[in-house]
């Protein structure tokens, strides 16, 4: 484990110890399951964002994809598709959204920040229009199927762990991952060597959208219903925070999947802990904001100190 990842571990341990002392219910299995469920979505969106950030891009639409994929699935299911196929069809829609993000970014030269923000709002709008702003119940609540796809207590976190392995291997062990780093680290050199940098980018947008859409459906099946009332930014930003607090650079070229997982654990513990110790709702966001700043500053400062010691 590298030093920048170690910092997050230390800050997270500190927070865990604090919440444990503040409220004895923190260590119960039920609560740990709750934390794991928070972590899963932060982590999966975070893994996708690591790939995108390494490219030097950003994806603000992943939260909207997370929220709208259960709706796609619901619409397919109500139109008569079996649930398994509805999930596959919804995943294909999510992949398509990622492809649109990527293609507009690389071919029309629009900043990915703006493209994905626009797509974020457009998706929110589509869900509102199609749902008539009415909450619906999710299908797939019973049987073995449901245990695997979200309803099982550890289902979402296991899916997240599986995606972590796959995306980590993709980034660090395959040719494609090396090309992601090359594209983000020195786009000219990458293109000069014959890497198809645009294609690499489009694929990464497809990957983050597919992953976010899948975990979105699992969470919706777990909760049992979806309501169309939020725009997705509150969902995607924790993913980006998880990636960056974990040590991924916003400037491109550098990213760590393990760091994003640790960042997601940090955020999950924070979210759950504040709820558990009953922080006044008005104070919640202030406390969360301050803790994120503390983690980030500690990360950078400790890195500087470590560098001095090494010399």
């Amino acid at each position: 484990m590298q030093q920048r990842e170690l910092t997050v571990v230390l800050v997270t341990l500190f927070v865990i110890i604090y919440f444990g002392i503040a409220n004895s219910a923190f260590y119960t299995t039920a609560n740990i399951i709750t934390i794991a469920q928070y972590i899963a979505s932060f982590a999966v969106i975070g893994f996708g964002e690591v790939l995108i950030l390494v490219l030097g891009e950003i994806d603000l639409s992943a939260g909207a994809v997370y929220l709208s994929s259960p709706w796609f699935m619901y619409f397919f299911w109500t139109s008569g598709m079996p649930i398994g196929w509805a999930i596959v069809a919804s995943m294909a829609c999510c992949a398509g959204i990622g492809m649109i993000n990527g293609l507009i970014t690389v071919w029309l030269n629009v900043s990915s920040l703006i493209v994905t923000l626009a797509v974020n709002y457009a998706l929110f709008g589509i869900v509102l229009i199609e749902s008539n702003d009415i909450q619906v119940d999710m299908p797939g609540q019973t049987g073995h199927f449901s245990i695997i796809f979200g309803v099982g207590a550890w289902s979402t976190i296991l899916w997240a762990a599986g995606m972590m392995l796959v995306i980590w291997a993709l980034l660090k062990r395959t040719r494609f991952g090396l090309h992601i780093t090359a594209t983000g680290g020195n786009p000219l050199a990458a293109a000069e060597s014959g890497i198809r940098v645009r294609r690499v980018k489009v694929w990464c947008f497809i990957i983050i959208s597919s992953a976010s859409g899948l975990i979105g459906m699992l969470d919706a099946i777990r909760i049992g219903s979806v309501n169309p009332g939020s725009s997705g930014l509150d969902t995607v930003l924790p993913g980006i925070v998880a990636a960056v607090v974990g040590g991924t650079a916003l400037t491109g070229g550098r990213g760590t999947i393990v760091g994003a997982a640790l960042g997601a654990i940090f955020l999950g513990v924070l979210e759950d802990g504040f709820n558990l110790i009953g922080v006044n709702a008005n104070w919640f966001y202030l406390a969360e904001g301050v803790m994120i700043l503390v983690a980030m500053v500690a990360n950078i400062q400790l890195r500087t100190v470590a560098r001095k010691f090494r010399r």
């Binding site: 040719r175 680290g185 060597s193």
Partner: protein, 279 residues
């Protein structure tokens, strides 16, 4: 000027006598190029032999970079012919030129700072295993990278070091090594010794000499710095106003002679300009 007065001039073995015409790897005949009203090249006849290091000298705007951009496939010439190993060729792209073994090495553009030495050496030519999934054979690439760098006598302390942590000279050496490892036979080097200390320069000079003498790699070097050119090159071509005005072995010329040549050309142009103004 004698050798003693210019210690940087290292005599290179005479090639003219020993090399046959078939050893010309690159030849151009009557290359011209204009950009709108500006005539950049007025008919370049030049040649490059196997294992030769040719320096291009010339003021800004003389046509050096246009010539190099034509040779690396970036610009097509308006007229004239290019021969690679005796065969007439026409490049439509940088990739075409690269396919024929002609590669440009840029110091800062070439490497990805966040990738290791080995990863940079194999960039987009990675070795993989398990069929189509693209799983990297990292160990094999490290081993090959190490032995290749040893072969060409480039000393890099750590093959797993990120390019970012290397010195400018080491990065330049890696960029050159990558091009030659990927079978480049003709390298175009743009100011390869720019912004380097003595030790760094020595690393690149040794590499250039080793590749040209022992591996038959031919190189064209553009540099404004005569000292650098005399250190690196076997032969010099001076480009003035879009054609080759002077062609001489390094051992038969001197920094002084070149300077005089450039200054007198400058004075001629100045005088011509004044005459024009007076008319």
């Amino acid at each position: 000027m004698t050798e003693a007065e210019s210690p940087l001039v290292e005599a290179s073995p005479t090639r003219d006598a020993t090399l046959a015409a078939s050893d010309v790897v690159l030849e151009t005949v009557g290359l011209t190029k204009r950009f709108g009203a500006v005539v950049a090249l007025r008919g370049i006849d030049m040649h490059l032999r196997r294992g030769e290091v040719l320096g291009l000298v010339g003021d800004n705007g003389a046509g050096k970079s246009t010539l190099v951009k034509i040779l690396c496939g970036f610009h097509p010439p308006d007229t004239g012919k290019i021969y690679v190993e005796g065969k007439e060729v026409s490049f439509r792209s940088v990739a075409d030129a690269r396919g024929l073994g002609i590669e440009t090495v840029y110091q800062d553009l070439a490497l990805v700072p966040q990738l290791t030495v080995a990863q940079n050496l194999f960039l987009n030519r990675e070795l993989t295993m398990f069929g189509g999934v693209g799983w990297l054979s990292a160990g094999k690439m490290r081993k090959l990278a190490k032995s290749y760098l040893e072969d060409i006598k480039v000393e890099i302390p750590d093959i797993d070091a990120e390019a970012e942590s290397l010195s400018g000279g080491q990065r330049q050496a890696i960029a050159v090594a990558r091009a030659t490892r990927q079978n480049a036979k003709i390298l175009l080097l743009d100011e390869p010794l720019a912004a380097m200390g003595a030790r760094e320069s020595a690393l690149i000079v040794d590499l250039v000499k080793d590749l040209s003498r022992n591996r038959g790699v031919s190189m064209i070097v553009i540099d404004h710095n005569y000292t650098h050119l005399f250190e690196l090159c076997d032969r010099l071509n001076v480009i003035q106003q879009g054609h080759i005005a002077y062609d001489q072995q390094v051992k038969d010329t001197s920094v002084e002679e070149l300077t005089n040549l450039m200054v007198s050309a400058y004075r001629r142009e100045l005088a011509a300009g004044q005459q024009l103004l007076e008319q």
